[in-house]
Structures are given as structure tokens and as C-alpha cells.
Point group: C2
Chain length 496, copies 2
Amino acid sequence: MAEVTNKEMTNREEDYSKWYNNLVVKADLAEQSAVRGCMVIKPYGYAIWEKMHEILDKMFKDTGHVNAYFPLFIPKSFLSKEAEHVEGFAKECAVVTHHRLMNDPNGSGVVVDPSARLEEELIVRPTSETIIWNTYKNWIKSWRDLPVLCNQWANVVRWEMRTRLFLRTAEFLWQEGHTAHATREEAVAEAQKMVNVYAKFAREYMAMPVVIGHKSETERFAGALDTYSIEAMMQDGKALQAGTSHFLGQNFAKAFEVQYANKEGKLDYVWATSWGVSTRLMGALIMSHSDNNGLVLPPALAPIQVVMVPIYKKDEEHSAIISRMNELKAEMEQVGISVKIDDRDNLRPGFKFAEWELKGVPVRVVIGPRDLESGNVELARRDISTKESVAQASLAQYVKSLLDEIQKQMYEKALKFRDENIIKVDTWDEFKQQIEKGGFLLCHWDGTAETEEKIKEETKATIRCIPIDSCVCEEEGKCVYSGKPSQRRVIFARAY
Amino acid sequence: MAEVTNKEMTNREEDYSKWYNNLVVKADLAEQSAVRGCMVIKPYGYAIWEKMHEILDKMFKDTGHVNAYFPLFIPKSFLSKEAEHVEGFAKECAVVTHHRLMNDPNGSGVVVDPSARLEEELIVRPTSETIIWNTYKNWIKSWRDLPVLCNQWANVVRWEMRTRLFLRTAEFLWQEGHTAHATREEAVAEAQKMVNVYAKFAREYMAMPVVIGHKSETERFAGALDTYSIEAMMQDGKALQAGTSHFLGQNFAKAFEVQYANKEGKLDYVWATSWGVSTRLMGALIMSHSDNNGLVLPPALAPIQVVMVPIYKKDEEHSAIISRMNELKAEMEQVGISVKIDDRDNLRPGFKFAEWELKGVPVRVVIGPRDLESGNVELARRDISTKESVAQASLAQYVKSLLDEIQKQMYEKALKFRDENIIKVDTWDEFKQQIEKGGFLLCHWDGTAETEEKIKEETKATIRCIPIDSCVCEEEGKCVYSGKPSQRRVIFARAY
């Protein structure tokens, strides 16, 4: 493991896709497992996901939600109860058919015991609407039982044919909120509230600008009446859907017969939402900020915010430097900064610099014998590769405001890039040219699935969203493809 | 849901098992799902599990461990690589055989697509030694890569035939630590360290006394050279294994070819441990403390530590009381106490008292119009059902030390009960008599699996552990069953 340096990193400009895969593995974030399409999330990658989990969980609780846990398995018949839902997920289901292995009668290891066939096959959950609404049936009787505001942190499985670490894996980790409401208005408001929570998380913690919008009917979640999403732009100009929030209407309540008695004692079907973000956010984070030297992490999500590297020749120097480092570490920890001292004795400082650069640690602090005398440190920023000398006496306070500054600047940089690459396109020729360069194409569209499909066939671009914020789109115009009248622009892009 | 009161609780003395099931459901902790043997962990139950998770996670990190995530699925061939391991788990495996559903050609919903059969079946992990050691093979090359100290929070599936909420479910949540070491001594020390972490958690947070000990060879984890466990005594005198820590020797390193180069450059197999606790702890918690009025929670694990119930007739009274309650709530929260004001307007105070009793909230604070005048509150303790009047001015400080006191007393009460029910038994007649009454039977045993098996057949009692702490057991004697010589006593009990 120790031989990895960023010199071996693929160049981002040469092959963005290879650069990404390379970075994920070399920065110790994740790796392929022995199981097709399933990844191992390594400790460093998992530590970032844990931070995301922790922050999001608090945001959910602050907005009135509670956590619960529902079964991993879904009876096959449940999936079929909502017609669009099964259509959307049937083709990528992992199916459990047996509950026992036995010794092979021919003596070659273990085989499935044919006598242990399940009466009804179980699906490993691709999403939990069906099992949850089957449960809510018993929880909801009257308007007093509403709203139900549950979230679940769980693993789900979708048998994707082409997988990529974090971006598209057969198994992934996520949270799925499932709420039940007395009225349509309340459910719509909930779906909107949660897409806004996601946007806030993306912007403030991931330093990642996003556009909030509606999905087109074609791109909606299977079983939803409306899907809101946050769409981010990666550095190669491609779009990445980073979170979705669905207004499900009464579809699942009807499929699972969930009715409640309103204040007048009349029965009505319950209104639903669901919303989720997943370990895909890790991919979005990586592709928003990283460079040819490796990962660049926003301070708010960095498991290690400051790494300290000693430079020394003699043993006395070493012990004096480490002892000073421990004092400074304690001062920084006091103000809430997470610090690691890299005291490995078998590696040169240059190697350590490269490794922590690769891992995206926002600030590096170096102390050598001369710094010890002068009372300074050498401080380097990961995001813009600057170096400066900072007095030890004021280091903790300095780093604290620097981390805020880095967080802010990383967002601004990404926002500038994003906004420069949102392009108004009004003719089909322009569209075909521009889509090759990447970016979000802000175009008029005639609102039909046919046009959407044709544009996709010809250019691989899809409607990422019908924006609600981030750009002024309400204006009359003509569909970029069909020339038919349109009331607003939408965002087309190629997407992850 | 609102009609539930503890009057409907089964009496603990009449039918302990029914009392338990009843309590789990009525206190809103968990319920059966539509999937055989899988439970739904309801928000209130999950909130307790979250507290356990949070505290344990911190204890693991404080002892140098990091979290990671490994695949849900295990290739069937991996399970077979360690002979005892597959023997132990093959009979309870959920097996994924297909990866797609299709519309039934006969038009009756969806069916498994026969063309989507997997080349190799996948097992839903019953535990992750095999997939993890297959991964460690790539992580470990030299002594510098050791130790590897990973933990994973995950769901696992063991297809148990007879299930009970929390105690034995087909799917359960747990953590599994998997560590790799250069030497046998280090691995043994790790296994011991972690069983001690579990014991500390049980004692200090769950207020549950435990005996630490070795498992007998028969009761060991499939693939381990030594298994340490913590054994708790439930209120009916039965034992519950609450956590295990395994010294795995080099078994998995050999099965998956994991070798490291030591300082001399020589290759050697890596030494392993694994250790885990699960949502079973919820069952242990419930059965250690609860009574005929419902759950009794130790303050350290109570999602709500104080519930405040207003008593009023007029609207002005109500608003004055609630406003005072909000002030007191803020004062208590300031010192780290979690407080809920139950301001539901459609329920009588008596109903609320019963409900919060059922849910085990440690302290109830009631304020009526007279309390408002006198500047006092009525405070009730859940654990021993006492009531007292406390000055509002000192409420926060009073409750803070009271919660500590309750935590301590709950442990002492459970310890007293446990110690009174650890009985030295020296004859077979006594054994057969005593085992019917329950408790831990401290007996000499000749050390053979045959005797162990016969005792189990005749009395359903098993060796819970060969104690390391909690009782003086090193003494010469004669096996309670065979009369053969023995060097120490062990604990026999019937167990969950």
C-alpha cells in the first residue's frame, strides 16, 4: 500500500473516467469486491460517508423525522402491487429463492438444498416503499396518527449491468425517508422541504452547487406523481443527480389499502412522499473538487482537516518537534479542528506530502528545526496549493478561520465553473455542438416524451430537470428540437 | 394505537415469554413484518438502538478501530473455504440465485426470469469473516500494514426456524469487528480487550451485570480457536449471551491465503479476531429491568429521560403551565438531559402516565395549577415507582443527579438478583432440581463434550461460559454429572 503516490495518478484532462476510478482506489476510498458490482468502502472513504450520515441525520431530525428499520427482504408479490413501481425495478432485482445450503452429494463442496425452496421468492430491497407502506397500514388509522415521518439508513441492491465505484453499484448505502400525510398539500410541502434540505447539504457541506428542479415525467421515480431532484455539474461538464424527493400521491396508499379517518370520521387514502440520497454523493463530492494530485475535500466533510508532518534529522530534533506538535494539536482540537500528526519514521516528508495531498486533507502543517526556533510553521492549502508561514502562537485561530475560508472558496469556485457552463441554446445545431463540450444546456422543450426520447437517442442528453431555482427559465420560446411553442427552458445534459 | 395501556400487559410472573412479546409490541419497540422472521424496528425501539450504536461506536474508536463497509453478498464458494465455518452457517443461509424478474407469460404478475440465473449463487451474509478476509488479502503485505482494526455496522441474515423479536430474528442489525495481527499474543489480547469493552458497555450503560468467560469448545463460534462471551441473567433466571469476541487463530488467513512479511522478511500467516453485538442487546435490556407496567430504561440509554405532563382545567392554566414547562425543559437540556413535554390535548393525564410508564421513561414531572403557585413539581421515578415534590428552582440539578442515581441503583438491583441466583451445585439431583428454578448453576464439569451434550439432553442446560471474572471458580472438585475430577467450576444455565 505504501508505494502509492500521486505521480501514478491518471491525468484528469486525458481521461476523466480513468482519473476518477484511479483516484477512488489510490486515495483509499473504495475498491471492487469479489462480488460483481459490489464495492468495499475502505476506512478512509467510510469516514467521509460517516460525516455525511451524521450531518444529514441531524438535518432530518431537526425537521421532525425519526429513524426506524424495515426488513431487507420484500415478498415478490408486494413489488407487483404498484404497477409502475414493479416495471421500474423488476429488471434489476436480486432474488432469494432458497434458505439453506447442503453438502454436495457428489462431494464437491456445498450446494443449494433443493428442499429449502421458499414458497414465495424474496427480493432484496431495491427501495422500500412497498414493505413500508404494508407496515404503515397497521400504524395509521386516524388523522391523529398522521403525519408519519420516518427515515431509514440502509443498504439496497439494484442489479445494474454496468457499475462504477460509488456512482453506480449493485449494492449501495443510502437513507430513504418515507412519510405519510393527511393532505396532498402537506405531502407536496414535505417533498419540497426535503429536496431543499438536500440542496442545503450539498451547498453548505459538500461545497457543491446544485440546481433544484422537477424531473420530467420520463425521468420520474417509478410510482411517483412528481420527482424533485438536485442536479450537480461535474468538472467534465456532465450532470450528476445527487438526491431525489418524490411526491407519491396516493399510489402506495391505494396499493396497500392505507386509509385514515379524518376529523369528520370519513375514510380517505393517505398521501405519501419518499426521498433519498446515497453513497453516490461520494462520487459527486470527488468529481466536484478533485484534481490531478488527488482528492480535494471541503473542510466540513474532511475526516482529517489538518495533517502535521515533522521534518528532522536528529533524534533530539524529532522529539522536540513532536512535542510541540502535540501542543499545537491540542490547541487546534480545542477549537473543534481534527488533526493528525504523521509521525511514521520510515517515510520521507515528500512522500507524506504526496499521500495527504492524494487524500485531500485541506491543510498541511510542517515543522522543522528552524520553525521550532522561529516559532512559526509552514502551512499549505490543498485546494489552491499555496504555502505560507504562520506563527505557532496564533495557529489554532488562524486555521479555524482558514478552514471556513477554504469551504467558502471551494463552493465559489465550483459555482463559477457551473455557471460558466450553463449555456442557453436555441437551435438544434448549436445543441449538437455544445453537448459535445459538456455543460448544462438551457433550452426550450415542447414538453413531450417523444421529443425527449429523440434528443436522447441523437445526443445521449437527457432532461436533468425543469429548474425551480438557480436560473431564470420562465419565458416563451420554441422547442430546440421540434420548434413547437414552449413556456420555459429546461436543462439538458449528459449525465452520470 | 392510542387505546393501548399497560392494563393490557401480560403478567410477568404468569407467562414471562408472553409478557416479553407483549411488551416489545405495546411499548412500540418492534413488530413482526410481512417477511417470515424479519422484524420492523419501530422509531422508539430504533432510538434506543441508536444510543447503543453511538456509545459503542465511540468505545470502538477510542480503542483504535475504524469503520468500513463490506458487501452484503458472499459468493457461495467463499463460505466453504473454512470447514467449520460453513458447517456452522450452511443450514441457515438466504441464497440469491437470480438477478431479474419478468412478467409471467401466463399473465399472473411477475415471476423469476429463468434466464437471469447467477453463475455462482450468492449468500446473504450471516457474518462477514470470509468476504473480509478475502479483502484483507489485498490490504496486507508487510508487518507495516498490521494491525488492521476494522469494524462494520451492518445487517446480517440467519434463517432461523424459530424467531422472537430482537432475541432471534432472520435479519438483525449488528456490528462486527474484524482485526488482523502479526502475532498470536496480539490477537488474543485484542479479543480480550473487546470482550471487556462489551462488559463495560453492558454494566455502565445497560445497567446489566455480566459474567465474562470462555465458551466451551462445543459452544464456540464456527471457525474460532477461542470464544469469549458476556453472559447476562434475565429476570426469569435464564441466561442470555449478550456479546462475543473470537480469537480465530490463523484459520481464516490460511483459508484465504493472507500472509505478511515480518521484520526479517519472512512470510507468515496473519492472526485474526472477530467480535460482535447485535439488536439482541435490545432483548437483553428489556428482560433485565422491565416490569408489569412495561419497559424500564436505564437513563443512559433512554431516548427520553424526562417526560413532562401538564394538568389543567382552563386554557389560561394550560398556557401558564406549558410556558413554565418550556423554561424548565430548557434548563434541563442545558445540563444534557433529554426532555419531552406531552402536550396532547385529547388524552387524560392518567392515560399519559400509563403510556410513558409503558415506554420506560425514567422520570416523570407533573405540573398542575397548584404546583405553579407553590413553585414545585411532582416528580415520579419509573424504576421504583416513588413520587416526591421537588422545587422548580433546583429541578435541573436535582434530575441530573437523580438520573445518575437511578442508573446506579438499576445496576445494583440487577446485580443483587443475579448474584442471588448464581448457585453452587455439587450433585446431579440438586442440578436437576435447581435448573427448573432457573439461575446460573456453578458446577464442576469434567471438560468433555460428551458430558456437556448429555447434560443438555437431560436438562436443556448448556455451559454458558467458563468464567474469567465475577465468581471464584478455580478449585478442585468432581464433575456434577460424571464424577470425574475437575479443576474449576463453570456456569450451566438454560439460555435464550
